[in-house]
């Protein structure tokens, strides 16, 4: 009298992916004993899952692209400009970022851990477009004009490194001038980008004001950890 229960593929997938409750699992396990087709369907789904895992167990090493930019950066630029405007407006209004939230407000976990401190700004440049190089330097100069004791760093990676390379930068004199006027301004190059360029035979000579970090991302992460305000140009 007992007809084998017809489990849908969605249901069986949920079983394979451990998305079912104990009772539903028990029903399927009990049904397998008397339904060979069900066992085969589950086996096929499990095999498909394992094949996907296997196919991406070892992916090719990351290959950075030096010759083109993603359209994705355009959105980031727009977001960055908004952020820059917001930070400057806040600073000009003499409101520290960390005090902007009222006590008891629904602050985020990370916001509490990484409350940015005023006066330390990390500007991230990864493009060689002249308007973006300009924007990075303009921002540093504008901030230092208002707060000469602020600490500002410009971190450059990918094509943004062209700002700091002797043979590509249009702003060597401007960088030297900024550094001469403000000892606390820093220019940081991504060591990974340098290594990649050297790997394809490019001779990388940096302007003398530059220091080198192991990777841009690690430097950004450390600065954020230290409470710096991070701005992506």
């Amino acid at each position: 009298m007992n007809q084998p229960r017809d489990f849908s593929d969605e249901h069986l997938n949920a079983f394979v992916d451990n998305q079912l409750g104990v009772q539903e699992c028990d029903e399927i396990l009990a049904a397998i004993a008397s339904d060979a087709d069900l066992g085969q369907r589950l086996c096929a789904l499990r095999s498909a899952k394992e094949l996907v895992r296997h196919a991406y167990g070892n992916v090719p090493p990351a290959r950075h692209r030096l010759d083109r930019r993603l359209p994705v950066w355009c959105g980031a630029l727009a977001a960055s400009i908004t952020l820059v405007v917001g930070v400057l407006a806040g600073w000009l209004g003499h409101q520290a970022t960390a005090t902007a939230e009222a006590p008891g407000a629904a602050t985020s976990w990370a916001g509490r851990v990484f409350a940015a401190e005023p006066g330390r700004i990390l500007i991230h440049l990864d493009s060689s477009r002249s308007e973006q190089m300009d924007a990075a330097l303009d921002l540093a100069e504008a901030y230092l004009a208002k707060a000469s004791d602020a600490r500002i760093e410009i971190i450059a990676n990918h094509r943004g490194l062209e700002l700091l390379r002797v043979d590509t930068t249009p702003y060597a004199a401007r960088i030297a001038g900024l550094k001469a006027q403000h000892a606390r301004v820093g220019f940081v190059a991504c060591g990974q980008t340098i290594a990649r360029l050297q790997g394809v035979g490019v001779d990388v000579e940096l302007v003398p004001e530059t220091t080198v970090a192991r990777t841009a991302i690690e430097h950004v992460a450390e600065r954020v950890q230290q409470g710096w305000t991070y701005l992506k140009i």
Binding site: D9, D17, Q19, A62, R65, V72, A76
Partner: protein, 180 residues
Amino acid sequence: MKWLQSREQRELVEQIKDSRLRLYRLAFAWCHDAGLADDLAQETLTRGLSRLDQLRDSARLMGWLFAILNRCWIDHLRGRREDFDDELLAELPSDLPGPDSHVERQETVSRVRTAIAALPLGQRQVVTLIDLEDFSYAEVAEILTIPIGTVMSRLCRARASLKELLLEPPVAQRHLRSVK
């Protein structure tokens, strides 16, 4: 300085650094282009670091980062197609050649990657988030901002296609067998 002493801070920064390979692997499974995958992972990390104040629970860091990866990926696709919309995303086929052009490549990894690449993008995202990252259906729904029922139906179609492409004999062979 007190911020250097925070275990929470150190752990979160380490987690973010460590997430790069996972982001890269998933991006590679979506686009099968090592250069683009690396750009997407990098952009995800930079966007994530600049928006840390939006992270509401440290335990959900990876889901949050994968949601950002999804947005980066969509922004990239939007940059390529003016008529792009979210509906198109679900059915957008791969840019890669289909499985037929790889028929002689019998090596398992290549065959599976080719089969994955042949899936519509929406299905590809769901199946890789579940199989490679072990996210629950509810988490995938949140990451991709789609209903959980859509997650289940896309997964179902994806696995059916993979099963047909990878686990079942070609139609011609099936026919021969049935004739015997």
